[in-house]
Symmetry: C2
Subunit: 454 residues, 2 copies
């Protein structure tokens, strides 16, 4: 019997993060300061990030050594298993080989600690007492609270109100690790109060929560901001996932034909796909790389590639990315982690360069896929992860129809233990499939910052 679970010994765990930026076929456009609308300098970031993170954000080095303390904390749950989805293959009757990298094994239940741990480490080292952050579904806030507990640094989490209400136990989880959680928009920040004044019934967005967290950090000397996705350093920290997967796929004697991941800000999929993308850019291999997003927040499939603010209140840096506009307010779907108006600038560039594809899917189809997965492979997926599973199943069924072997690899980014209310609604037939109206997207896109592309 072949191994279903392909482990990696601790001694083979990659010791460097991979930075894709120097390998890009075209240069990235600079990040702009929200105050000056000019290219941001390290000083512009200094009020909210430690210098080591700023250096990583702007780095032109291909590899950055992972500090010993981070390696030690990673080893709580890493290397994570690569799993061959043999039972799912059998259920589908497909000749495809389906592999998933199981990032749900971290204590926080997702890939998010891969960047939370180094961010907590660097901030502690820089003498910070506290980190502020936002969270959508709660995966990121959990991960940062967990990481904060490991390095002895306080964590304040602004949680998108709809998730705060839908998932009370995410809050309990963060508290167990010592984190402090507020629903966003909150009355704790000037920005939150202003948003609530205009729109007291808002269910919140990641954009609003980011505004509050950045403002909190910018106005407190002992506090920095930590972001869970989008920016270069978060994507880079996640490349430990793909580098491990490369070694594990080699152990399995295969190379993926298709690589799939769900995309909100983009970090989980960046983490899995960028090490393989390196082969693709260099022309050594040609895997198809597919980003999956919800129809209700279709950043890649309906957005524009342009400069935009990272947050609603325009306090976060302006980046060149695929975006639906920073005022875009997606419906309250259960994949809270995919409700972001923009996407990682690195991933946006790859999509623009046709090195990566993007597809949109509906949430009922995703929960159908998640249920099939749970009843074959066992693990109950997070709603976000179900987007990747949906497309992995579709690819496997295509291979069946064409009767050809295909090697499919996807990122099992998180489990759904704190999302059971969404499953209840799915089984009760109460989930809606939203498609965001074009005119509303057009309206949101009319608020992009007026800067020339540089």
């Amino acid at each position: 019997m072949t191994d279903k679970i392909i482990t990696l010994p601790r001694s083979d765990m990659p010791t460097k993060w991979y930075n894709i930026v120097p390998d890009f076929p075209v240069p990235m456009k600079p990040v702009l300061s929200p105050q000056t609308l000019k290219p941001a300098t390290a000083d512009d970031f200094a009020p909210i990030f430690p210098m080591s993170i700023i250096e990583q954000e702007m780095s032109d080095q291909s590899y950055i050594t992972i500090p010993d303390e981070v390696m030690e904390a990673y080893s709580i749950y890493r290397p994570t298993p690569l799993v061959r989805a043999t039972r799912l293959e059998k259920f589908l009757g497909t000749p495809a080989h389906i592999y998933y990298k199981n990032e749900s094994v971290s204590p926080a239940g997702s890939h998010k600690p891969n960047t939370a741990i180094p961010q907590a480490f660097y901030n502690k080292k820089a003498g910070m007492k506290r980190m502020s952050t936002e969270t959508g579904a709660g995966q990121w806030g959990s991960a940062l609270s967990f990481a904060g507990s490991l390095f002895g640094i306080d964590v304040t989490v602004y949680m998108v109100r709809i998730s705060f209400d839908q998932k009370p136990y995410r809050k309990s989880m963060m508290q167990t690790w010592g984190g402090t959680v507020y629903p966003s928009p909150s009355d704790r920040t000037e920005i939150g109060r202003a948003i609530l004044k205009d729109n007291p019934n808002t269910s919140g967005t990641l954009g609003m929560a980011i505004s509050e967290a950045v403002f909190d950090a910018a106005t407190h000397d002992d506090t920095n901001y930590a972001i869970g996705s989008v920016l270069n350093h978060t994507c880079m920290h996640q490349t430990i996932v793909g580098q491990e997967a490369e070694l594990q796929m080699k152990k399995a004697g295969e190379y993926p034909d298709v690589i799939i991941g769900c995309v909100g800000g983009g970090s989980n999929f960046a983490g899995l796909s960028y090490p393989f993308m390196r082969d693709k850019i260099k022309g050594n291999k040609n895997p198809r790389v597919v980003a999956v997003e919800p129809f209700s927040c279709p950043t890649f499939t309906k957005g524009v590639y342009n400069y935009d603010y990272g947050d609603t209140a325009m306090v976060a840096p302006i980046v060149f990315m695929h975006t639906l506009g920073h005022t875009f307010e997606p419906p309250g779907i259960h994949a809270g982690g995919l409700r972001y108006h923009g996407a990682a600038p690195t991933m946006s560039l790859l999509c623009d360069q046709k090195l990566m594809d993007a597809v949109a899917v509906h949430q009922n189809a995703c929960f159908e896929a998640a249920t099939i997965f749970a009843r074959t492979e066992g693990i109950i997926p997070a709603p976000e992860t179900s987007h990747a599973i949906r497309v992995a199943i579709d690819e496997a069924l295509k291979a069946k129809k064409e009767n050809k072997k295909a090697v499919i690899l996807f990122n099992f980014s998180g489990h759904g233990h704190f999302d059971m209310v969404a499953y209840d609604k799915y089984f009760a037939g109460q989930l809606e499939d939203y498609e965001y109206p074009s005119e509303k997207i057009k309206e949101a896109l009319s608020h992009l910052p007026k800067v020339e592309a540089m």
Copy 2:
């Protein structure tokens, strides 16, 4: 750096279950039929168990080969990691080495699938359409629903009402795997209706839920009963845990001085400890083996060693075990899986023979230990598991005081993702430490069956 996580390749996974019964220094007392009060025959069990399970229950073989189909299903999550709790050791400043076997990595979140999987397999093979069972905290019902989905057999779960109310998402989890869940006592069985008539406000007990599940199976030809703990076959199925741990401890170059586990019915701790107990019985090694129970349900520390019914309504077999009496109704503590009036007959014999120790602990001290564990090792423990952690920490602090190295091994039987309400109450200072009054225990013990010990 030494490996924190000690993995085991799939090829080294044990292929047989270990049956401790033939190694006992004294013979076990026979199980009695609740109808005749005479030693039960295979025929007495036939209405509720398949013959293969009955044979295992009564087996005098030391090893039983695990079927290929079960090995394949085990490999979804097995072998599980053995983890050195290096960060906890550092926090405590102890010279002790603390290891835990991480059974929380199964899709159901605990060790319970180790016996759920073979029971689902054997029942499917015997032509059953459905299995009925009880669940306390929800871990066992989840595991059986998961196992049922793997082999295509329906699962009906009677869930102790207090847990059903406290943990609605356990129900959702079981439903995601296709299980059907009712709060117990329910109005679906004659027995449930009778209990509700006498005591309409009861929060339920495992003893009552067992009665309902056994009755359901006994009155439906296409349905068998599955039990999550106590009986010999469940403890035997769990020995895959301890056999893996033996190999992993050997890889780490150590042998445990103390082996610790929480005990409700006893199966998780039997699974970890019996393979080591084999060494102890044979006199090759002399580890201290410590069963941990809650003060609120002190089966070993305050109960008697006697024949008793396994359930409240006296429909389950009568076994010789440590018991508080089958009418004992423990307070509604959060470690629902430890609220059983009896304990595994095999474990009871080991305690009676002084081969195993038992200690009782209070729930606030356990949640304190669980929080320390979450903030050092990362994983949030189930309330049941926190009992083992409390004593592991106490042993490590004793080693610190005595300034001597001790190798401590405990079973991390499950995670607490569905128990966050208990953590909320702990942090809010709302958890009570119950000690069950002696006169109430005396009263419950007055209802033991009137049979001579044979």
